[in-house]
């Protein structure tokens, strides 16, 4: 199903390989676009994989899981946030607050933003942090964006360097405006060919993770390229980069093109933070090729994201809950797909369908286009934009012994509720079709071939 072209990746301790290029009457060091972003952000002319640099952060984001950021900030002797105008807070994981403790955490974070002069506080209901930052113009090609969330890799689909950190690293960013990074190796994944009916970006990435396994990209940047990726709408490209963290990736990348700029223009972004492009002679230590046409509607069986199976193999299993939402599978395209499938039909008796738009903006557009009405009439339940039950906190956690199909990204034991619940990660098309029948169903059963 895939061809590995090269694998001579260097270990951590080897001297990085420097390639030189003759151009404009001088020698240039060959670099990848993401290396150029890190180099420029750390005031260097060049960097190479394995090197440690201290880079200034363009945009920092703290979400509401992380009151620890504030605690660590003060423990680090912080008195003022160095760049309040580059700092954002998004309340998404506990939105609106499900418990007194979560409400108290929100209150303390609001107070912190007020005290530090941080104006970009996106309170409850604005959406999941990555989508919110994109929609409010914080993400542009070439920018270095750090968030307290592992799925920050999502932003690579717009040519940004997006990476997640923990609370204390974020506290250091708030205090100092910068953080150290190890320049990652870049692993290239080329996808060519036209995907078959019922196959979405989610199926492609589940197939890739299931083939290469969940630790294949630890500490690396994963770049997606090829004719399939070029043909995908930006919303679908975001899914590929979002889930690259499930392979261990530090960041992801897709070279921006006209589609990227059209997508960003709707949010008022018309200029790159740094105009970067990978040098033509750049050497990829690892490169993998996939044929999209050969990939079927896929799912991750309960337990781990690389537990790959064709949807067909799991058909007939009863589903208690279907969840369509999150930074992986809650964008307009995902809700539109569900609406097309469920138009004029009803969710099966004995199955619950929960839909949570990834952002307020997605919710508004889904309303304007009639998707929300269609889905409500089919029996779906809508909830406040945010992360929802993805991390098992609220808005639809699952009981012991139940089976859940989710368009989110993770099915670790206990992730969405009980340790004894079974979670299948699927595409929005598979989720909607399975909600219709009440059992796991291949979307090709209802989609025209």
């Amino acid at each position: 199903m895939y061809d590995k072209i090269r694998n001579n990746s260097q270990s951590l301790h080897h001297e990085p390989l420097l390639l030189l290029n003759w151009h404009d009457n001088c020698w240039f060091i060959v670099m990848h676009a993401i290396e150029k972003i890190l180099a420029q952000a750390s005031g260097k002319t060049h960097v190479s994989a394995g090197e440690i640099v201290t880079a200034e952060i363009d945009v920092a984001e703290v979400n509401d899981l992380y009151l620890q950021v504030v605690q660590s900030f003060y423990e680090l002797g912080g008195t003022r946030v160095k760049f309040p105008d580059r700092t954002t807070f998004v309340f998404d994981h506990y939105s609106p607050a499900p418990t007194i403790k979560a409400a108290d955490n929100h209150r303390k974070m609001r107070e912190f933003c007020h005290a530090m002069g941080i104006e970009a506080l996106f309170d409850i209901g604005k959406g999941v942090c990555h989508q919110v930052l994109i929609e409010h113009g914080f993400v542009s090609p070439g920018s270095l964006v750090v968030e307290t969330d592992s799925h920050t890799t999502t932003l690579g689909a717009l040519g940004a360097f997006g990476t997640g950190v923990g609370a204390t690293d974020m506290a250091l960013i708030l205090r100092n405006g910068s953080l150290w990074f190890r320049v990652p190796e870049v692993m290239k994944i080329v996808i060519d060919g036209e995907p078959g009916p019922g196959v979405m970006a989610k199926d492609l990435i589940l197939h890739i993770i299931g083939t290469l396994k969940q630790d294949c990209a630890i500490y690396k940047c994963v770049e997606f390229a090829g004719s399939t990726v070029s043909a995908l709408p930006v919303e679908e490209r975001l899914v590929l980069c979002n889930m690259s963290v499930e392979m261990g990736a530090k960041t992801a990348y897709i070279q921006p093109d006209d589609k990227t700029w059209d997508y960003l223009a709707q949010f008022g972004v018309r200029q790159a933070r740094r105009s970067v492009i990978t040098d033509p002679d750049f050497h990829y230590p690892e490169e993998y090729h996939f044929d999209a046409h050969a990939i079927e509607p896929s799912l991750a069986l309960p337990g781990s994201v690389d537990n790959l199976a064709p949807v067909q193999e799991a058909e007939g299993i009863h589903v208690d809950q279907v969840f369509i939402g999150t930074c992986t599978g809650g964008r307009l395209n995902d809700i539109a797909t569900a609406a097309r499938i469920l138009q004029g039909k009803k969710v099966a008796e004995g199955t619950r369908l929960i839909i949570i738009p990834a952002s307020e903006e997605v919710f508004r557009q889904a309303l304007a286009r009639g998707y929300v009405q269609t889905l409500l009439e089919s029996g779906a339940v809508f909830s406040t934009p945010g992360c929802g039950p993805c991390l098992g906190a609220h808005e639809g956690v699952i009981a012991s012994g139940e089976t859940c199909l989710t368009t989110s990204s993770r099915n670790f034991p206990g992730r969405m509720g009980s340790n004894d619940a079974r979670i299948y990660v699927v595409s929005p098309a598979t989720a909607a079709v399975s909600a219709l029948f009440g059992t796991i169903t291949d979307p090709r059963q209802v989609l025209p071939s």
């Binding site: 899981l65 992380y66 009151l67 620890q68 605690q71 660590s72 423990e75 680090l76 002797g77 912080g78 008195t79 003022r80 994981h93 506990y94 418990t99 403790k101 979560a102 955490n105 307290t148 969330d149 592992s150 997640g164 950190v165 923990g166 609370a167 204390t168 690293d169 250091l172 205090r175 969940q214 630790d215 630890i218 500490y219 261990g248 530090k250 781990s304 991390l391 098992g392 906190a393 956690v397 993770r410 670790f412 034991p413 206990g414 992730r415 509720g417 340790n419």
Partner: protein, 164 residues
């Protein structure tokens, strides 16, 4: 930095942060409270059976999944002295260094043949692991990182309030 006669607790590959610290406890902020739920997703009995000062031994990709720092806070607060794994997920690894939990990457860990409940001596600076009758060697953490861990993590670098 030496750890003597420490009990080891063995786990497999891809132990994610939901297994280390389940999402349902993420709203907690008190470190002692966070410490009561260590490894509950992987083994609900772990907080009860764990002896303070023990060492976690795991396979590849330990700490994958979410960026939650609670995963390191819980291990530190229940008293885990070190985590040895074939490889670590990067955010978890960074969090360990920042919070001074020794996390040692030992790709050849399988060949040590370690068993659940075994007592080991660990010398982090020398890079040795002794099981009573055998001594194994591994690449130690860099000197600067060890020093940072000994001082209590990244907080030690910023003891005085910033100027201006």
């Amino acid at each position: 930095m030496k750890i003597k006669a420490s009990t080891i607790y063995c786990f497999g590959n891809n132990i994610d942060t939901d297994q280390i610290y389940p999402g349902r406890y993420l709203e907690l902020t008190d470190h002692a409270e966070i410490g009561r739920h260590a490894m509950e997703g992987a083994d609900p009995d772990f907080p009860r059976r764990f002896k303070k000062g023990g060492i976690i031994v795991a396979g590849s990709n330990f700490g994958c999944g979410s960026s939650r720092e609670h995963a390191v806070i819980t291990l530190k607060n229940i008293g885990v002295a070190a985590v040895l794994a074939k490889s670590f997920a990067r955010i978890f690894y960074r969090n360990c260094i920042n919070l001074a939990l020794p996390a040692v990457m030992i790709p050849e860990l399988d060949s040590f043949g370690l068993r659940e409940g075994q007592l080991i001596d660990l010398d982090l600076a020398e890079g040795t692991l002794a099981t009573g009758d055998k001594i194994f060697r591994f690449v130690p953490l860099p000197h600067d990182i060890l020093e940072l861990i000994e001082k209590g993590g990244v907080f030690a670098l910023y003891k005085t309030p910033e100027a201006g």
